[in-house]
Symmetry: C2
Subunit: 344 residues, 2 copies
């Protein structure tokens, strides 16, 4: 196990490196207030810390740099709690300043503020729509063959899709069918719609509508769209300001990861544990994220977890500050959203 002195040294090294971005040497360390012993002692301790894998040298006679293991230990045990300034808090509050009742806009604004506050890239995974409950189905004919199907959920989310209407269905049938669907399906979570249609609604339709089967297929396909949570980004270009990304290749690799939304989305989806989750460097399975750390938190309405907010930065990230900010934003977001949407 590490001695107290080793822990102190590890902490100071990481703190200093996060601040400066430069390898930290024994002399620099010995000048710090917290450090009461000489550079030679530090050198000995650093040699041990290196042997244990917590720090690394960039070359034989360079100062030390935290390894991923070092960051991991730091994040798990050595974080010094941060206090947010009044400005920071004001900015966070400003997410909810305008009484915008649209979830998406609040979420988008959160992403923007988050990147503002941290100077890193932020990602917010919008509310999962699939658990929303159906409020209303509408089918609005556009012309003979096509119509717009609209689904409204209890949170006010609207999904829509253009569908083609089988020629065998006439307008009055269509209307009748929509009525039946609404009677039977309101309150059902979107994710269960398709199931419910085949199990419970199909035979009702059969009783009332000619050629119901051609339509049934169309409808169930339409309702089957499991809309993915939208991703909102903030400060995509902030990465470019980080000194570790002065190499164009590194920029490209990380930018490509971000733009390649699908994989990144799946990665975020996995980060759905309550509380703060930190993955450092190669812990991120995604190719191209080796030099990055990802910190995530979740937000919810009442007990129901809604989505994820995240900050992406270099492994040399201000973990303390970012974690504090994420915690705060997540909790404020949850509080406000619960207030708005709880009583439906």
């Amino acid at each position: 196990m590490l001695t107290d002195r080793q822990l102190l040294i590890l902490q100071v090294i990481i703190d200093d490196f996060i601040r400066s971005g430069q390898p930290v040497g024994s002399r620099t360390l010995s000048k710090k207030e917290e450090i009461t012993f000489s550079s030679a002692t530090i050198r000995n301790e650093m040699a041990d810390l290196e042997e244990l894998g917590y720090i690394e040298k960039t070359h034989v006679s360079s100062g030390r740099v935290p390894s991923e293991k070092g960051y991991r230990y730091y994040v798990d045990h050595l974080l010094s709690p941060q206090r947010l300034t009044h400005e920071d808090i004001a900015k966070i509050k400003s997410i909810f300043a305008e009484r915008i009742y649209e979830l998406e806009k609040v979420v988008q604004k959160s992403a923007q503020i988050l990147s503002d506050l941290t100077n890193y890239t932020s990602i917010v995974l919008g509310p999962a729509v699939k658990d929303n409950k159906l409020k209303q189905i509408q089918i609005i004919p556009l012309n003979k063959e096509t119509a717009v199907a609209i689904i409204v959920t209890d949170t006010g989310h609207v999904e829509n899709r253009v569908i083609t209407i089988p020629a065998s269905i006439n307008p009055s049938d269509l209307e009748k069918m929509v009525n039946i669907l609404n009677e039977r399906l309101i309150g059902v979570p979107l994710v269960d719609l398709k199931d419910k249609i085949y199990k419970e609604v199909a035979n009702v339709l059969r009783a009332h509508i000619r050629n119901y089967d051609s339509m049934l297929k169309t409808i169930s396909d339409t309702l089957d769209l499991q809309p993915a949570e939208k991703m909102f980004f903030g400060g995509k270009t902030n990465m470019l300001s980080q000194p570790e990304f002065n190499d164009i290749e590194k920029v490209r690799s990380i930018m490509t990861v971000i733009e390649q939304e699908k994989d990144f989305y799946n990665l975020l989806r996995k980060h759905n544990k309550q509380g703060i989750q930190v993955t450092i460097g190669k812990e991120n399975q995604l190719r191209g994220m080796e030099n990055c750390s990802l910190i995530t938190a979740t937000y919810s309405v009442g007990e129901k977890q809604l989505g994820t907010i995240a900050v992406l930065g270099p492994t040399r990230m201000e973990y303390s500050r970012v974690i504090t900010i994420l915690n705060r934003v997540a909790s404020d977001l949850s509080t406000v959203l619960t207030q708005w949407y709880q009583n439906n």
Copy 2:
């Protein structure tokens, strides 16, 4: 005016520079097939071309590089027509392969294919919704205070917004009002809605609904949302592969322009002349686009111009190829969309 020989030299210089990205010297030129005279002659001609401002040196004894004036002349007079390969054409056709009737998806796919084909960044300005005609208005109550207002247009586009309902309005009033709105407003272009409401619908409402004024305000505000055309991007990271952007600062400036969507959107809006429009380097008024060229074309349904497709690349762009591709995509897009939507 330029002599034929000067034009030839200018063209070959620009062609070669676009291909290689390297300053072109007299010796390199003299080895080209098209060039029958010696390097010394070329040097004399190049000195003249430089004096006239069509080409520049990067330093005293370097080869020549096209100036913006040179590119401008090249684009206006020297483009050698390109033929698209079968693969290129197949890719363009693939935009319409799946019978996706949703305009937005087609447009998004166009952006992706466009960046695929060119290796630059593409931007497609989605169909302008404001000229669409109203097909139906719906207001769906969510709970006591809020409701979703939904507007469907004749092209199948759906706009929605959460609104708060004044306490003084009861559900049956709401329904009555929606009916009135639909009776009076169907077929009206979205852009004219607000006007029409105040001029023609307000007094009808007054006759039928108590407290109509508190609701009128809400409604007209809602309908007033002039939804901006959406921008779809393709290949945002393609810029990073361009050798002229190996400087992180240049990358940052251009990325910031793109991410800062608003200004860029306004810029694109101005590019609404029929046909191909090319702006080179500083001709682009936007700060940060000095090293870029933008090529745009428009697409339409029937006679009605719908939106803009664009390719953004370094000033050293393959103008010929990009223009050919843009022309093709724009015309295919127009043809297909006209086919789909003409007969409404």
